[in-house]
Amino acid sequence: MQRTAGMRAGGGTAPVTPRAAFQWGPLLPLAPALFVVLTLFVYPFIYGLQLSLSPLPALAKGGLLANYAAFFGDPRERLSIWNTLRLAVPVTLLDLCVALPLAYRLRRPLPGQRVITGLLVIPMTLGTVLLAEGMIEFFGPAGWVNKTLLAFHLVKFPVQFVHNYTGVFLSLTISDFPAVFLVLLGYASGLDPRLEQAARTLGAGWWQRLRRVTLPLLAPGIAAAAALSFVATFSVFPSAVLVGEPAGSTRVIALAAWQAAYEQFDYPRASAIAMVMAAIELVFVTLVLVARNRAYRGPTIGGRG
């Protein structure tokens, strides 16, 4: 009869060595961070979710989802979603379209590279209010932009750039650009130049190289930038008030939530609106991830094992 060692029951005479228990000790440094996230983020989030499902007495007869029903039932409230999408999507697209060629070109050194990168990133420091105040003056009826337009006879009357949709659009484009650019620059720099050279030797012209090699390889970066940008722009709040029309075309969903909380003191309904925001952002991010997976699977470093 054959001797079998190891864990076969009723067989061999060799001792069974117990599997070493997984060492949880070294993971200890994670604990504080995890604790913070759980108590200060997950718990409030769940609390907010629960709050959104416990409508105030005035709406309570609508049941659990009364807050959501109230939000979607009110045309003015519903409109806030559209107002926000009308801003977030075009801004994200514009910033992506401008940042992508720049990041792609800047992955190889250019004279004045650090200055350029610095200049493109500085708007991060501006802050919403300075940007807003500056825009009100710069783009205002007596500001330099209109003065220039009038001086060159391009327009007859000053154009209204602020306190409307345009103002918020411009403000978001400028403040969102640095982050999008940095993410794309990071990914573009990781492209293996040998891949494009290989494509050239195989007969691919610049357009084919772009379509078949470069863009698919940049897909993860584009997806990350798009997700980041949308999340930031969809949550817009102060600029919508300062350089927009908070009562009209730029009544964004964040504003609707804020008003529910601090003007009507209906915290449950405010939480519901906040949940709707999170849901929309989640849907968008999921769509982006799905699109990216269809474009590409695998690492961006060239095919070396």
Binding site: R194, L195, R200, T201, L217, G298, I301, G303, G305
Partner: protein, 374 residues
């Protein structure tokens, strides 16, 4: 032919992988030069490659061999010189229209495409009909024994497999010229040997003109019809493997092919092809001269370890020396010795010597070469 048309290889449409020897793919390189900043990477590079020939560019890193390859591929612009393919000047032709097969050192496989799509890439760029693409991809993958990987991604393959995919991708387009940049340097020793045989077999089957860059002299010797040795951006010697191995024309080439014993000497006398030289230690050697070596001049003497004979002391004429240590290398011993005059020798001998033993060294004057100094 205008610069706009593609360099199309003639042959049956749709292509088969039949051998086409010596008919096309003749390369003439004239005076090719390239510098980066104030570093001359390549200087006055002249080479003729016949159709179907396998030429290796061999040299240490920094010698300019990869630069030459990149210039041939069109990935770099030369500062001076001309490249002619079958009489056509390639100067104005960009890399995407040269129709060369290039195998990169890092393989450069497209990570987001399957093996099949990688290999098909060049054919798709040429506008080949899909049915033909599928057939040719399968055929070429069969040639490199990788048919079953056709739907896998490069990251899922081993280094050797990736290398073969890179090869297949270059071969499937039936290029007039195959350029390979140190394709085996990332593989382990056993794999390198296997792949070397593969490449040799493929060359014999397909007969493609090939220019192969390597720093490994064994690879160059076993694969090539001719070898071009390069140093510091210049071609130093071009010849068949036998020629460069047995009749090196400079100390550099000699050293590359195993002449491990090199001595700076002064020439005492020259008679015909025989020369008497003296080392710094006062050792007198007799060797065979190359041109350019005259009496009284400084020179370099070179001899192979296996061409130096060691006998126990007291058994006749020879240079007295002592054994420092001996390495057993399987079929012989490689011994480090120091002549009593002070010059070091590396000697390959079948017999075992004790450390510190006294021996007598002799070298056949035919096998001891004397070169002008570098």
């Amino acid at each position: 032919m205008s610069a706009e048309t593609r360099v199309e290889p003639p042959g049956p449409p749709g292509g088969s992988l039949a051998a086409r020897r010596h008919t096309i793919g003749r390369v003439e390189i004239r005076g090719l030069s390239k510098h980066f900043g104030d570093v001359a990477a390549l200087t006055a590079f002249d080479l003729d490659v016949h159709g179907g020939e396998f030429v290796s560019l061999l040299g240490p890193s920094g010698c300019g061999k990869s630069t030459a390859l990149n210039l041939l591929a069109g990935l770099l612009e030369p500062d001076a010189g001309q490249i002619l393919l079958d009489g056509q000047d390639l100067g104005p032709v960009p890399p995407e229209r040269r129709g060369f097969g290039v195998v990169f050192q890092s393989y450069a496989l497209f990570p987001h495409l399957t093996v099949g799509r990688n290999v098909a890439f060049g054919l798709e760029m040429m506008g080949t009909p899909p049915a033909d693409v599928a057939r040719r991809v399968r055929q070429t993958l069969a040639l490199v024994h990788l048919e079953e990987t056709i739907d896998r991604y490069p990251a899922q393959l081993s280094g050797g497999q990736q290398q073969r995919v890179a090869l297949a991708r270059a071969l499937v387009i039936e290029p007039r010229l195959l350029l390979m940049d140190e394709p085996l340097s990332n593989l382990d020793a056993k794999l390198r040997l296997e792949m070397r045989l593969e490449i040799r077999r493929l060359h014999q089957t397909l007969g493609l003109t090939t220019i192969y860059v390597t720093h490994d002299q064994e690879e160059a010797l076993s694969l090539s019809d001719r070898i071009g040795l390069m140093k510091d951006g210049m071609l130093r010697q071009v010849g068949t493997p036998e020629e460069v191995y047995l009749r090196p024309q400079s100390a550099f080439v000699a050293n590359f092919f195993g002449y491990r014993n090199l001595f700076r000497v002064r020439v005492e006398s020259v008679r015909g092809t025989r020369a008497e030289v003296a080392t710094s230690g006062g050792l007198r050697l007799t060797g065979t001269v190359r041109d350019g070596v005259a009496a009284g001049a400084e020179a370099v003497a070179a001899v192979r370890p296996e061409d130096v004979e060691a006998r126990p002391a007291g058994s006749g004429p020879g240079i007295p020396a002592k054994v420092e240590f001996a390495e057993f290398i399987g079929d012989a011993f490689e011994c480090s010795m120091v002549a009593d005059a002070g010059d070091p020798f590396v000697v390959r001998t079948p017999s075992r010597f004790e450390r510190g033993a006294s021996v007598l060294l002799n070298a056949d004057p035919e096998r001891l070469l004397v070169f002008p100094p570098e």
